[in-house]
Subunit: 241 residues, 2 copies
């Protein structure tokens, strides 16, 4: 079973672009009349019947639809990684788990700050379809840490910076997170943020947290914070109820 | 800063094999007299001084040592994956986070059940050194699910099977896990366990759990359960205190 991301919707009709259509018809051997699952990437999953196949792509008719509200929301701003495949691994895994928004960061110690954005988007789309995720995460363009901190004006957020710079003040993310929404977390490059960067973030309202004693690679840390917030959101809110 | 795994210890002397020695001297340019961090893979991290370099490898003298008790313990038995690099990704990430024991499983729907074990051990060792993990996880040889279930005689375990087969009985792992030790979790192949396999595991005492609505890839699920148990262990035991 697969989920197909739609290109657009017109009334009770769904349209798929050429790439998704090709995958549907050629790789997965779907035919006119078959039932499929489709997503709009914004919370709705459709059951639909394939009606026609044109040069522009597949068209399907909606049979039923279900909307899943996004109950927990995490925005991860993560340093780019010298080995691009490691950053791509984070994109794939974080999408499967359910990250809401991703900002690739350029920090002082970031090496080779590059990201092939269209390739990155393809990885995200493929992970959305693979995992039946009702939401497509938002991928922003790479930005310098300083500029990103200035841009983040919303104050109604739980803000954390994962770092080992300030060992004195270190508390586990699991303990520091209260269970509220949305969450915004900064993940540094291999070699961590500089003390100046941590200070700058702390002044702007980010709270330093630890992810445990083991030193995680950048892409591991960035993926794990998504799972930590997901687990803690469910646990802490169940307890509040 | 890196951690070097020792080959063996004699009194206050540490010995490193040729591969680790080569990495220490050639890649990281360590010299006689330098302070290094070394691990025995069983909980102890040493600070030591490089004393000599022979054909057999580096020898160092212990300056100080610290033992970290293993406070949470998870054994993941995970289906092998057609694309071996995906299973290797799980080995790397789970080691970074702190998995205790790994059993590669051969299930009914496992495709291409192969694992290059010496390569797998290298990946684990490298992740231990990278993450400063005081413990080297135990990697077992691939085994059929049925046989594995028969072998697991210890009953003093929390046992879970991650599956979507029995949607009726589904509870999140975060909610089902009580915070006790050790934990043993079964992760199925792409396409999940068969209903027969789930039944067999349930009869042997494994409780079905869900990892959330999104369908995670095998290697993602296997990595996430390590993080979930880690987070829940800290949260639930802090609350008990």
């Amino acid at each position: 079973m697969a989920l197909f991301l739609i290109d657009h919707q017109e009334d009770n009709r769904l349209f798929f672009d050429q790439e998704v259509s090709h995958h549907m018809l050629r790789s997965l051997r779907k035919q006119t009349g078959d039932l499929i699952h489709a997503g709009d990437g914004q919370g709705t999953i459709f059951t639909a019947t394939i009606e026609s196949e044109t040069r522009q792509g597949v068209e399907a008719r909606i049979v039923s639809q279900e909307f899943s509200p996004k109950d927990w929301k995490i925005h991860v701003a993560c340093s780019l990684i010298k080995k691009e495949s490691r950053f791509e691994n984070f994109l794939e895994k974080a999408t499967e788990i359910g990250v809401h928004r991703i900002t690739p960061l350029i920090c002082e110690r970031t090496l080779k700050p590059q990201l092939r954005e269209s390739r990155a988007r393809k990885i995200i789309h493929s992970a959305v379809q693979q995992s039946f995720n009702p939401y497509v995460p938002i991928l922003e363009s790479p930005i310098k840490l300083e500029e990103h901190l200035r841009n983040m004006k919303e104050v109604n957020q739980e803000r954390f910076i994962a770092t080992a710079v300030d060992r004195e003040q270190e508390v586990l993310l699991e303990q520091q997170y209260t269970g509220r929404n949305p969450v915004h977390i900064l993940i540094g490059p291999e070699g961590d943020f500089t003390p100046f960067e941590v200070e700058m973030a702390m002044e702007a309202g980010w709270i330093p947290v630890s992810l445990g004693k083991n030193r995680l690679r950048t892409e591991t840390a960035a993926t794990m914070v998504v799972q930590i917030i997901k687990s803690c959101f469910y646990l802490k809110n169940e307890m509040i109820k």
